[in-house]
Each structure stands twice: as structure tokens, then as C-alpha cells.
């Protein structure tokens, strides 16, 4: 379909480059320089979408980012982008767009039934409906109906970029004021970035006929110009975020700019506001300045017979421009009692009737507007046929970014608009964005503002150059009082087009005492759609003020927050996704693990083998095999992510004794001790081992997951509390590779390696550290065990980790060596009842809960957290205590996180008919009984914290924390998880080798 509404000449489009695109499957064509909206209008497409609640057909209202109606889905498949404003989407060859929120087709939408039912669907109707039988029965259907566009399926294949920039001055908006500001700043030698969201500079000049032919103001070459870049947020300390889009699809889809500027100048202009009257939402009814933009910039006629309705001076120039190209203007409906004299005279001379004091009663047309019915003072209703209605309800400065920066707004009664009030130290509004609508004085004011800005950053403005760009500006913004009078049919007079909020909704909110502007917003959802009230906030405030007998300043505004326009998550992520989301750390012997067929998982950022499944083995079978190999022969494990710290200095022992709950002062050289680290509340932060190498030298191992946190904790106390202590901390976590050899044959295997360390059972008993050499490499050998078997941890400099692993594997072949992974070790330590801090402990677990209370109470001297251990909550007898559990039934409920209950419930009752638990265990006392039917709320007695299958026990075993657990050994309790139950027996946490004979072998 060719452009039936396209003019043969004029506009900033490139007629030598036609572009094909499709909308709802229909192929059409436009030109380079078009937006999707202008191309659709040129082809005579009027209805482009359906409204949110009532599914009314909607057309294009504006020509900019404030568009509430023309939301389309662009692209297909994984590249599909919903809720794209057709008015800001540049046209490119092959663009595929679809309408939204309609089924089965745009022209015949089943959802239109909502419009017939509109008396039942006022604002907040959902708060009063869907009560019986239960909200949950309606929720799935409502979720499907809500929303406008659909998110794409599948991973995003596109690339996004992120750029950081610094500058002295960033100017947002390249209209008249913005260009002038950039020019002044650049002449003074400041580094300037100029941001413009459309495809070219010049702002309103681009659709001002009188400016045609005059030289366009140039952007100084020292200014960095970003076109097609929308500033979306202003943050602390002069940080401005913006999103840039390429003119047509290319290697990058969006670019996220983070600009740190010493001064921010906002020249964002103003948004024209619609008039509020019944049936003001029909396709074909649009804003007057948008009609002008389509005519002069895109050479698109919005109709052949255009009625203009206005409450201010700025719409009259549209009448002249339309007449110049031969479009008929039956009349101008002026809501004020007097039209401006010069405009009225010009209209009369051109044969355009100006009706003053008029109020539009309704419009007709299905769906495109066909006629306008209006009433003037003291006259009867008249009908005028038309195929477009251009309305202007005044102008509202774009003050969103200014408010995000903390600025306040004031209502200017002369301008009838909310304008920035006062000055912020680093953010300034100029031009229409500051409420200055008179083009002649704006440039002077820009000069004054910039002079202050430049002084603030230590530059001096050049002496004012004579104004080279002075021109007669026929397009000027003008103040227009927002409509707030009574309307005949308030249920059909739209205030917020996107959320289908009418005057009746606002009046309903007032009747229901939602008179605060915050309540109005949330009760009616006015201004809460994607357009964030850009064309509705001012009208809504005015109506609220009028209905409650207040002034607009008394009503106030709601808070503006980023983003100014919707931003895709891809832009914010900027390429930090997939494997770039967070750095992955690999073990020194990673290649060796790969060759052994390891199944890798992420453990706190480290890629570690969970287990090493052989061909045909499931993961669970592999874990069981590895456990049995460690218990019967020997296993090898890569423990390199263990946190390691060297603490050296004369005061090292004192420092560690104060920080750790375990005694350190009496730790002898060459000895190793298990130690707990508490925070000041007495809660276990981390556990690990402390080894003493020399009187003033300690080697500390923390947990792998807590390495960073624990070392930071040590460093904090050293720097802030006791800087006078003489010691140094060195984090050497990744400097050492650690390999664990565990199993009855561990000593025999190590004896095969060339080493100068005496491995005899008497010379190297359990919990000792030795330094020396292995295979010619310097090493530290710790005899410690997390598996419960005879076990050694060999630490060598990380570069030797891979070759040491290979050497041990080779030597271990005769001993039946088996590599085992994290999951296998976890199961082995669970059998032994060893703690996993963070799994078996939580944010309230104190040492006594896990059985260390007696040991710590014997320590002489204070330590961090000691005072808190005597608080009343921490000495209660009924705290959750660590116990072991043996699963007696179906293990599907026996999972970490399961609740422990004293008794099985009688029989579970189903409440809503679909699968769901009737029992809701909570840790505290039951506070309520919910729902229409009584649900019983039980009190939990604790949690299952670790659960594994134990081949040694032949069943599932675990660890948990049970109220007064230590006094309940032998009891049978119930375990509940996700609607399922089983029974379990409370036992000692150590399920295997309770005397520790194998440890000390």
C-alpha cells in the first residue's frame, strides 16, 4: 500500500530511499527518515492497538516518546521487543511490527466486550470483586489478560554495549535551548556531551515552516553529539544514564551510557497535553503539535478535513500549515471565551471559523473519528464532520530528570504548568523544560544560566556573541489551563489513555476519600503505565484539585523515578551476561578434572567437580561409589578454594585468641586446632582450622565459601580496633593449591612420594602441620580430616597443583585411588556429623547449639562474641540444637530445608481442591487462621539441614536442628517437605565411627 496520505514534497524524509516494512502481516512502504508511526499514518493506517482495560481501538496520539496508544511489538522470535512506541521507532528496511493486546485480530478484538461492560469495571474494581470462592480461582485468568505485550522466548542473541564517559557539562536535548547551551559551554573550553533522543538536532525547528531555509545552528565540533540517545535517569553526584540505539539493526542493539558530569543541563522541552472531553480517544484524534510534526517533518497529512480544538495559542499555527497544503479546516474550537486577536483575524481571513467558549460534547466514528459534536456558550449542539481532530490542551515541561535529581516543582499559574522550582547545585533546567515558553527570551536566559554553570566549574564564559540565529519563531509553546470542568459523560472522557483511566475514575476516587495524590495514583492507576503519565498527570491533578476544592499546588505531585522511558534489561546488563555475568574461577588442576570426566558445578564462583561419574553412571551412583572408595581404599580431592591466611607477627597469637572463640594462645608449634569465628552477636560466622608454624606465625584455613568474608573480618579488626598490635595478614587463598588424600591407604600412598616429611603415625599424629618438600616442591602438609578417614591436605604453590595431582594419581593407581568431588565429600562429612557453616548453621546459631558450648566456656580471656553468649535468648534451654536424623520411610520428604514436626498430622485436608499443603509449619506461635476454611497452622520444632544417602548406614541420614534436640535422642519425629511426610529417628550427629578410630589411624 503506497502512502495515500503522503504529500509529494516537503518533509525531512529521503524519498529516494523507500523502505518496506510490515504491520500485522500487511506489507507497506515508507521512506528513510520516517518513524514507524509516520509511515503507518502515510499509508492510512488508523487503528494501531487496543487499550489496556477496555480494548478500545486506538490510534496514534503523539509524535514522540510520550505516546500512550501506539504500542507495537517489533521483531520476531528471540529478538521480539514488546511495547515499542511506534512514534520513536525509526523505520528500517524489513521492519516487522505487530499490534498488541488484541485477539483474534486488531480490527475484531474479542476483548471489546470489556468496553460494553465498562460500568462494571471502574477504577479499583478488582479490589471489590473476585472474593468468592477464592481469589486464587481467578488469578491465572487475570494474569493472562493483564499486560500489553508479550516478552520474547529464548535467550537474547543480541549484543549490548556499555560506555562510560566523563565531561564537564552534559546537555540533554538538542533543541534551540540545548544547542545554545552546548555552544556557550564549548566556547568557554568545557568538555561537552550533547544528548538528543531523536534522529536529528534542532528540536521543534525541524517542523517549523518559518525556519525552513534559515541555516540550522551547527553543533560545535568539540561537542560530543549522541543522537538517538535518550537520557533515562539522573543519579547521585552527577551520574546520568542514557540509552543509545542504532538507526538500523547492526552489531549492537543498544548502548548504555553512564556519563559522569560536573554539571547537567536539562533542555528536554515540554509535552503537549490532550484535552479531556467525552470520546477523546478515537483513532484520528491526536495532538496538534504532533499533527504539525507529521505534516512538516514527515510530509504526512493526518486527514483531509481536520478540526482543531485548543485551549491555548499554540495550535493556530497548525491551521495555517494545513491550509498551505490544501487541507480543509472546518473550524477551530477554542475553549476560552476569547481567541487571540491576531490569530482570530488570520483565521477569519482564511475562511476558518473560530468558535470561542466551546466544549466538545462527543465524537462519533467507528472506529476512526467521523464527526465532532460541540456546544458553544448559549447555543445548541452542532455537529461538524471531519476525519481528524487535532487537540491542544497546553504544555507541560519535561521535568522528570530534574525531579529525579531531587528538584521540586512549582505550579506557575501564568503558564498553567508545573515547572522546576529553585536551583540544584549541579542540575539546571533551561528553555521549555524550565517552563519558559517564550522563544525570544529563552536564549537570553540560557546565557545567564550557562554563565553560572561555567563559573561553577571554573571556566569563564566568552563575551556574548551577537545572536546569529535570531529568527522569527512562529511556533511557540503557550500556556493552557488543564481542563477540569465537569464533563457530560465522565465515563467516556479519558484522562490516562494507556491505563484507560477516565474522569469518572477520578471522581470515584474522590468519593471514596482517595484524595491524596498518592492515593489517587495508586487507586486509579493514572500515570502508572509505561508512559508514566507524560500526557495524563497534569490533567489528573487538575481534575483532582477541582473536585476537592483545592489548588494544584495544594494537591502536589507524585515522585518521579528512573527510568524516563522503558529500558531493556539487556541495555543495563551491557554484555555482562552468560559467562561474563560474574568471573568464574578454576581450580589449578581443572584440565585434569576434565579429563577424568568430572561433572562441574558452581560453588561460590569456583568451577568444582561435584563428582566424577563413569560411563553409564548416574550422579547419585557416582557419589556412592566415591564414598565407598574413600572409606575402603583412598580418594583424592581438589581442595584449592579453601580460604588461606598467613598471620605473622609478635602479636599474632594475641590477635587470633581475641578473634576466635577457640583458645589459640596455648596452641603449640606444629599443632592444628579446629576453631570457630563468631560475630559480636555470638553467632557462628565461619569455622576452620588454625595451625601454628612458629611462635609468631599462623596458617589459617577458612571455609571456601566464607574465605573472602572471614579474611575481611580479620582485617577489619586489625585496622579499626587494634591497629597497635604488631602483625600482618596475608591472604594466600589462590596462592596455594591444596589436594586432600583421604582413606585407609592414604599414608601408604604418600609414602610413595619423594618427601622429606616423616609420615609415621607417631611423628605425624592427627591435627598436625609440617612444612617441607614433596616431589621437590615446597609444601605444607596438614593431617586434618573432613571425611572422617585418615586424611592429609597437601598444599603447594598453585602453579604446581596440576602436576602434583597427576603425580599423586599415578602413584595411587596401585592403591585404588579414586578422585572424589564436592558432593561426595559433603556426604562423607554428614555421616561424621561435621558442620557445614551456612547449611547446618544460620544467622542465629551459637556455639552451644552445635555442641561447642562447653569447650568455649573453658577458654580463659575474652573473645569476640563472648559477651553475647550470656544474653537471655542464648541461654534458653529450648534452643534449636544440632542432632542427627535417620530416615525411616520414603526419603522424598527427607531433604535439606524440610520441617521437623513433633507428630504427624491426623490426615492432611485439601483446601482449594488443587494440590497444596494444609499444614503450614511456622517457627513461631500461630498468629492467625487464614482463608475461608480453617487451615491449621502448626508450630515447627526445627529444620533438616543436611540430608544424604549413606551407604555405610544403608539409608538416608542427615543433620538437623531440633528444639531441645540433645535431650530427645531416640525419639521418632515427623519430617515435612512440600506436601509430603516421612518419619525419622533422632540420633547423635555422628552416624559413622563415633569414637573416631579411623581418624586417628
Amino acid at each position: 500500500m503506497s502512502g495515500a496520505f503522503r504529500l509529494d514534497w516537503g518533509g525531512a524524509i529521503n524519498r529516494s530511499r523507500p523502505l518496506n516494512f510490515s504491520f500485522d502481516g500487511r506489507t507497506m512502504s515508507g521512506f528513510e527518515g520516517d518513524t514507524l508511526a509516520s509511515a503507518l499514518l502515510a499509508c492510512g493506517v488508523s487503528t494501531v492497538g487496543r487499550s489496556f482495560k477496555f480494548h478500545r481501538p486506538r490510534g496514534i496520539l503523539t509524535a514522540g516518546p510520550e505516546e500512550p496508544n501506539a504500542l507495537v511489538t517489533v521483531g520476531e522470535g528471540a529478538r521480539r521487543e514488546p511495547n515499542v512506541r511506534a512514534t520513536t521507532q525509526p523505520l528500517f528496511a524489513g521492519l516487522v511490527a505487530h499490534s498488541q493486546n488484541c485477539w483474534p485480530t486488531l480490527d475484531f478484538d474479542a476483548g471489546r466486550i470489556n468496553d460494553w461492560l465498562h460500568p462494571l469495571l471502574p477504577a479499583g474494581f478488582y479490589n471489590k470483586m473476585f472474593k468468592w470462592p477464592s481469589w486464587h480461582a481467578f488469578e491465572p485468568a487475570i494474569r493472562r489478560m493483564a499486560g500489553l505485550g508479550r516478552v520474547p522466548e529464548g535467550p537474547d542473541p543480541d549484543r549490548y554495549e556499555c560506555r562510560n564517559a566523563h565531561c564537564d557539562v552534559v546537555v540533554v536535548g538538542a533543541g534551540a535551548a540545548g544547542l545554545r547551551a552546548a555552544e556557550i559551554a564549548a566556547q568557554a573550553g568545557a568538555r561537552v556531551i550533547l544528548i538528543e533522543s531523536s534522529q536529528s538536532c534542532g528540536g521543534r525547528r525541524n517542523w517549523d515552516r518559518a525556519s525552513e531555509g534559515a541555516p540550522s545552528p551547527a553543533v560545535p565540533p568539540t561537542v560530543r553529539l549522541l543522537l538517538r540517545t535518550t537520557a533515562v535517569g539522573v543519579y547521585d553526584h552527577g551520574l546520568l544514564a542514557a540509552v543509545e540505539r542504532p538507526p538500523s539493526p547492526c552489531q549492537w542493539r543498544e548502548r548504555w551510557w553512564r556519563i559522569r558530569a560536573r554539571q547537567i543541563i536539562l533542555a528536554c522541552g515540554a509535552f503537549e497535553q490532550p484535552l479531556v472531553f467525552p470520546d477523546n480517544d478515537r483513532p484520528g484524534i491526536l495532538l496538534a503539535d504532533a499533527a504539525r510534526q507529521y505534516l512538516n517533518r514527515y510530509a504526512v497529512a493526518v486527514g483531509t478535513r481536520v478540526v482543531i480544538a485548543t485551549n491555548n495559542d499554540s495550535a493556530y499555527v497548525l491551521a495555517r500549515d494545513l491550509q498551505d497544503v490544501g487541507i480543509e479546516i472546518p473550524c477551530v474550537l477554542e475553549t476560552r471565551s476569547h481567541a487571540p486577536e491576531d490569530e482570530a483575524a488570520r483565521c477569519q481571513a482564511s475562511g476558518i471559523e473560530v468558535v470561542t467558549g466551546s466544549r466538545i460534547v462527543r465524537t462519533t466514528g467507528s472506529p476512526h473519528v467521523a464527526s465532532v459534536l460541540f456546544r458553544a456558550d448559549g447555543q445548541s449542539t452542532r455537529r461538524i464532520a471531519c476525519d481528524a481532530l487535532a487537540m491542544s490542551g497546553g504544555w507541560s515541561p519535561v521535568s522528570h530528570l530534574y525531579c529525579q535529581a531531587g528538584g521540586k516543582l512549582r505550579f506557575d499559574p501564568a503558564q498553567s504548568c508545573l515547572a522546576p522550582d529553585g536551583a540544584l547545585s549541579n542540575v539546571h533546567a533551561i528553555g521549555a523544560a524550565a517552563g519558559q515558553f517564550d522563544a525570544d527570551t529563552v536564549l537570553e536566559d540560557v546565557g545567564i544560566t550557562l554563565a553560572n554553570v561555567l563559573v561553577g566549574i571554573g571556566r569563564s564564559p566568552r563575551r556574548a556573541t551577537p545572536e546569529r540565529h535570531k529568527r522569527r519563531n512562529t511556533s511557540r509553546l503557550a500556556p493552557g489551563a488543564p481542563g477540569c470542568e465537569e464533563v457530560d459523560r465522565p465515563t467516556r472522557a479519558w484522562v490516562d489513555f494507556q491505563h484507560d483511566v477516565t474522569v469518572a475514575d477520578i471522581e470515584l476516587a474522590v468519593r471514596e476519600s482517595m484524595i491524596s495524590v498518592e492515593h489517587l495514583k495508586r487507586y486509579t492507576t493514572v500515570g502508572m503505565a509505561i508512559d508514566q503519565g507524560k500526557t495524563s498527570n497534569l490533567n489528573a491533578l487538575a481534575i483532582l484539585a477541582a473536585r476537592t476544592g483545592r489548588s494544584i499546588p495544594e494537591v502536589g505531585t507524585t515522585t518521579f523515578r528512573p527510568m524516563f522511558v522503558p529500558v531493556t534489561l539487556g541495555a543495563i546488563a551491557g554484555g555482562r551476561n552468560g559467562r561474563f555475568y560474574s568471573p568464574t574461577r578454576r581450580l589449578p588442576a581443572h584440565v585434569q578434572h576434565e579429563r577424568l570426566g568430572a561433572h562441574f558445578e558452581d560453588y561460590s564462583g569456583w568451577q568444582r567437580p561435584a563428582c566424577y561419574p563413569r560411563a553409564g553412571e548416574s550422579l547419585q551412583e557416582a557419589i556412592v561409589r566415591e564414598m565407598q572408595a574413600v572409606r575402603s581404599a583412598v580418594g583424592i580431592y581438589d581442595a584449592s578454594p579453601l580460604g588461606k591466611v598467613m598471620v605473622r607477627g609478635p602479636d599474632a597469637a594475641i590477635f587470633l585468641d581475641r578473634l576466635y572463640a577457640t583458645s589459640i594462645l596455648d596452641l603449640r608449634e606444629g599443632c592444628v586446632r579446629y576453631a570457630l569465628l563468631l560475630n559480636e552477636q555470638g553467632v557462628i560466622m565461619d569455622d576452620g582450622i588454625v595451625a601454628r608454624l612458629a611462635p609468631d606465625e599462623f596458617f589459617i584455613n577458612t571455609t571456601s565459601a566464607g574465605a573472602v568474608r572471614s579474611i575481611a573480618w580479620l582485617d577489619e579488626w586489625l585496622q579499626c580496633e587494634w591497629p597497635q598490635l604488631r602483625l600482618a595478614l596475608t591472604d594466600c587463598t589462590s596462592a596455594w593449591a591444596t589436594i586432600t588424600i583421604a582413606g585407609p591407604h592414604a599414608r601408604a600412598l604418600l609414602r610413595e612420594m619423594p618427601t622429606n616429611i616423616d609420615l609415621g603415625a607417631a611423628s605425624l599424629p592427627h591435627m598436625r602441620i609440617r612444612t617441607g618438600q614433596i616431589c621437590g616442591i615446597p609444601c605444607r602438609l596438614l593431617r586434618v580430616s573432613f571425611s572422617g578417614e585418615l586424611s592429609y591436605e597437601v598444599s603447594v604453590p598453585a602453579d604446581f597443583g596440576a602436576s602434583l595431582w597427576e603425580a599423586l594419581m599415578r602413584a595411587g593407581q596401585r592403591h585404588g585411588i579414586t578422585p572424589f568431588g564436592v558432593e561426595s565429600l559433603n556426604a562423607l562429612r554428614t555421616e561424621k556429623g561435621y558442620l557445614h557453616v551456612g547449611a547446618d548453621t544460620d544467622g542465629s546459631t551459637i556455639p552451644d547449639d552445635v555442641g561447642f558450648g562447653l569447650a568455649l566456656s573453658r577458654k580463659v580471656g575474652d573473645f569476640v562474641g563472648r559477651r553475647s553468649l550470656s544474653l537471655p535468648e542464648n541461654v534458653r534451654g529450648d534452643r534449636l540444637q544440632l542432632i542427627g536424623l535417620r530416615c525411616l520411610g520414603d526419603p522424598s520428604a527427607f531433604r535439606p530445608g524440610a520441617h521437623l514436626l513433633d507428630h504427624l498430622p491426623p490426615e492432611p485436608q485439601s483446601v482449594t481442591g488443587h494440590a497444596g499443603p494444609a499444614v503450614i509449619p511456622t517457627l513461631g506461635r500461630p498468629l492467625w487462621e487464614s482463608g475461608l476454611r480453617k487451615r491449621s497452622v502448626r508450630v515447627t520444632s526445627g529444620y533438616l539441614t543436611s540430608a544424604v544417602f549413606s551407604p555405610a548406614s544403608g539409608c538416608h541420614i542427615g543433620l538437623g536442628r531440633l528444639r531441645s534436640g540433645r535431650s530427645r535422642l531416640g525419639e521418632t519425629i515427623a519430617v515435612y517437605d512440600g506436601g509430603r511426610y516421612c518419619q525419622a529417628k533422632v540420633v547423635d550427629p555422628v552416624h559413622y565411627d563415633p569414637e573416631g578410630r579411623r581418624l586417628r589411624g
Binding site: 543519579y235 547521585d236 553526584h237 551520574l239 559522569r260 531531587g406 594475641i654 585468641d657 581475641r658 559480636e680 552477636q681 575481611a712 582485617d715 577489619e716 585496622q719 579499626c720 580496633e721 591497629p723 580471656g861 575474652d862 573473645f863 569476640v864 559477651r867 553475647s868 550470656s870 544474653l871 537471655p872
Partner: protein, 95 residues
């Protein structure tokens, strides 16, 4: 995102730092009763206005330092007295 002036590295983005809570806390003597001890553990000032606090330049030099920030405007204030204080929490001896 704020910019914070590390005394050792200069003006850096907030993301390089870790927040350390209120500054100049005084650890009470160990003989105080449970109420006062709990007050020290859990009660902090929640001011709209100038707030003395600790920061650590975690992804930088790793040093702790004190700062005074206006919690309403996020402006950092440098006053002679606080800038010269050593980066301590002024806590009593533990042992």
C-alpha cells in the same frame, strides 16, 4: 551511584566500597547489663542529615576510613575534625 573520596586513592565510584555502618561507636565495658549490651549490638542512629559512618575501599586499597555523609542528599562533608580522626571505631579493649 555515589562517588566517595578514599583518603588514599582519591575519588572513586561507590561500587568499589563496602559500607561499614555507623562510626565512633563505643563498646561498653563488659560489666554492663544485658539491656545496654543489646543496645550496643543492635541500636544505631537513623538520621535524616549528617551521619558519621565507616567505609572500606574493598576493591581498591582495602583501607577503612571514616566519612560524614548527608543521608538526605548523599553529599559527603569534609570537616576538619572528622577528617583528622584515625579510622577506628574507638572501641574499648577486648582483653
Amino acid at each position: 551511584m555515589m562517588q566517595i573520596e578514599c583518603p588514599y586513592c582519591g575519588l572513586r565510584d561507590e561500587i568499589e566500597f563496602s559500607f561499614g555502618g555507623e562510626a565512633y561507636l563505643t563498646r561498653p565495658d563488659l560489666s554492663v547489663d544485658d539491656v545496654e549490651w543489646t543496645q550496643y549490638l543492635y541500636f544505631r542512629h537513623n538520621l535524616k542529615g549528617l551521619h558519621a559512618e565507616r567505609w572500606r575501599h574493598t576493591h581498591g586499597c582495602g583501607q577503612w576510613f571514616n566519612a560524614v555523609r548527608d543521608t538526605a542528599t548523599h553529599q559527603f562533608v569534609k570537616s576538619g575534625e572528622t577528617a583528622d580522626q584515625p579510622p577506628q571505631r574507638r572501641i574499648g579493649e577486648i582483653a
